[in-house]
Amino acid sequence: MAQPYVKKDDDHDDELEYSPFMGIEKGAVLQEARVFNDAQVDPRRCSQVITKLLYLLNQGESFTKKEATEVFFSVTKLFQSKDTGLRRMVYLIIKELSPSSDEVIIVTSSLMKDMNSKIDMYRANAIRVLCRIIDGTLLTQIERYLKQAIVDKNPVVSSAALVSGLHLLKTNPEIVKRWSNEVQEGVQSRSALVQFHALALLHQIRQNDRLAVSKLVGSLTRGAVRSPLAQCLLIRYTSQVIRDMSNHGQSGERPFYEFLESCLRHKAEMVILEAARAITELDGVTSRELTPAITVLQLFLSSPRPVLRFAAVRTLNKVAMTHPMAVTNCNIDMESLISDQNRSIATLAITTLLKTGNESSVERLMKQITNFMSDIADEFKIVVVEAIRSLCVKFPLKYRSLMTFLSNILREEGGFEYKRAIVDSIVTIIRDIPDAKESGLLHLCEFIEDCEFTYLSTQILHFLGTEGPNTSDPSKYIRYIYNRVHLENATVRAAAVSTLAKFGFMVESLKPRITILLKRCIYDSDDEVRDRATLFLSVLGGDGTVDNDKDSKVFLFGSLEVPLVNMETSLKNYDPSEEAFDINSVPREVKSQPLAEKKAQGKKPTGLGAPPAAPASGFDGYERLLSSIPEFAAFGKLFKSSSPVELTEAETEYAVNVVKHIFDNHVVFQYNCTNTIPEQLLERVNVIVDASEAEEFSESTSKALNSLPYDSPGQAFVAFEKPAGVPAVGKFSNTLTFVVKEVDPSTGEAEDDGVEDEYQLEDLEVVAADYMVKVGVSNFRNAWESMNEEDEHVDEYGLGQRASLGESIKAVIDLLGMQPCEGTETVPSNARSHTCLLSGVYIGNVKVLVRAQFGMDSSQQIAMKLAVRAEDVSVAEAIHEIVANG
């Protein structure tokens, strides 16, 4: 515990605390500042006033422009005084006042005089002040002196100049870069700090010249660096060079590793730490490279200095995420840190242990954590809870002790974020470990009996509604749920009513009793609660025919199948009318950012020919655009539009991208063309498509663009017929044909005669993913289980050698064109296996779900197990075919 503070003046105990600044007021101090103008400067008095001004500024008081200017002007008068102490304060206040450029002029000459003074302190400080306040033009005037100062005999002066150089490099790089030679000399300085500052500046000057940096590092690693700080810098630069080299494909023995390793034996601890950290952060570090770094960090763990322990455990914690095995050696030292006085260290130790621990140590660890949890802050507890969640996923057999732990801490005091972390963890465990379901649900039930957070109560009630009815004894949850109807606010009551209805619908034996309970809710004081009760009563009271059953099921359990954003837009656009709002009219496409749409904007009126259709983007826009064109209106409902694919390189004469529109038995290519040459007008712009490599397609119609003036995008269309409902694929080569007319840039008039010309575009492919619409599902597990298990198609694929799991997962997602669910498209770095959940709608409105499990072996070979469930068996087969051919 803190030592009691011994008060010096016991007799002052009851009085106001003494402070020389008690009752200080800005106005009065500004008045006092007039002493600066006295003919006879009193250094002592003036210093005191400056201290008061600094105190005010430091406490957050701000001066108006006028006040600051006045103070600044009178301060400049103090340069007359020869008192060094006062001068030092003058420097300080000038920096704090940060005068404007027109005011700076006044002090420049005084400061320049000081820069050349015989007194070191004047030179050093005048440089720092001057460099802080001047601009580029003045800087060129004093550049000469600064260069001199860098190589000054006095280390303080040269440090001042070098550090100022580091600051100036941001605003006037071209000037500072001219000082290389002097800075280079500084690197050789015998003064530790000068070397440190010179090295920092030299690297900063050369940072964009990779070769120079590499040479600098190469020469210095041979042992010319003296101070620990400079050595730390050198380690940072070395890691950067190593990174750059590996980025540029230089393989073989890792360069400079030996240098980093030798720094682990440096006498300064800050250098050892810096080197150890640099080694652990090397890209693709091997366990052999790691070992010496882990060894020194392990020594730090038992240091009496908290900073060392913290630094070590923080670094090891990061290593444990990627190389848990390398850290296990430190487990014993780590365990003793659980009781560390410093709670940051203890929390880091625990989470590290949770990552590195093995199955047998879980129980012992949980016991230790329980003692520790009561006296740490919520933010630490959340970290621990999250670590426990991942531990449970790792060791499913240990769910009992982990679940007990979670339910115990759920009962204790805690804030919303903390409780939410616990509830989330329990929910995750229930989802992943079926055995844990019943006990987990009961823990949640107990929690809502005494839960002060409406949000958590409603979430748990909803979760109970989906999971509860499928348990062995659903009736035991009813009591907890119905209690909510009595004791809670309206939001929770409404959620409880919905949950009751779900039980009543799913569990036939409970139906009569639930009906009674719901009837009681009809007299609730809240509209929403009454409405829900009435609604569900009529659903439950139905005559039980199969048809009705299905509707009710969808009604109760169905998730909203359209993205919320789209739903919101559609509802906003809906005009109240006779026609009811149709949820099927809401687009299902998850909006992706239109990439090339910027080019397609800009509307300029065109005098010639028909005005081009307004550039449209997004699914709605495309649908409207296509249905407005008579040739395509008969194709039926648009199924999917791809994002634009560029067919030209950037910065070419004509920029063309294409959007693929998929209909049931047609495909329409929309070519968005932009003419980037001001001297040209293009007419009769058409795209000739060669479909010889796309056997199932036959061209039906095309629509040329009459006129394409400069910088005013237009669209040409080509439509193909294809077998209905079949996901035909193929490759198309495209040529842009047009008539060029010269335009006089001054008048904008085009010549009458034009020349026919053509322009080769890149090929275009229609792939299987074009027939898949990205449609997310809110609860993958529910959706998955609602599909027929017998229609599941499973197969395994070898994907060969890949750089990482994430890369191969992305490749599969792109190949299938499906929507990743529940964030499963992201892979923890260095994971060896991963499961990715995908959902989508295939052409013909067939819902498809995919569960893809990836695994990587030691030689980076990746295998994938792909399970597909679809409403139509043939579609599931088709998905496998896509993967097999991809």
Partner: protein, 177 residues
Amino acid sequence: MELHPKVKNILLLDSEGKRIAAKYYTDDWPTNTAKEAFEKTVFSKTKKTNARTEVEVTALENNIIVYKFVQDLHFYVTGGEEENELILASVLQGLFDAVNLLLRGNVDKREALDNLDLIFLCFDEIIDGGIVLETDANVIAEKAGINSFDPNAPLSEQTISQALATAREHLTRSLMK
């Protein structure tokens, strides 16, 4: 990219968390309100810890904070989360020892307020715009206190070594001419 160690702020708070002196070197806390809020969080998070014998350390809002207390004074140095905490600790130790030297061992709030000019100078000599200027407490104290106008300042060893250094300096200067 700047790779040199960076200090985000130096704080000196009293036993109630009130600011005695503070210097911020980044825009992470743009207003005085933001600064005060940060100081309050830092203080309440650390006040119960014992940081009187050794420099202590904690993490807060993606920052690493090292701190040390003496009597009713609380010293803090903040750096980014990627910073080497031992470098921050050496800055803090330099500050702490320099203040101790400048206040001649009587380090408490009253003495600090009475010599606030020295504290400000001390800050100024340790960090310049976030860059470590000096970490050796003797050098810092010398630079901040060398020309102290305090007539009561005793003639300590420091001033003698200072005098010798100046004499040596003058000699070399005249020789160089």
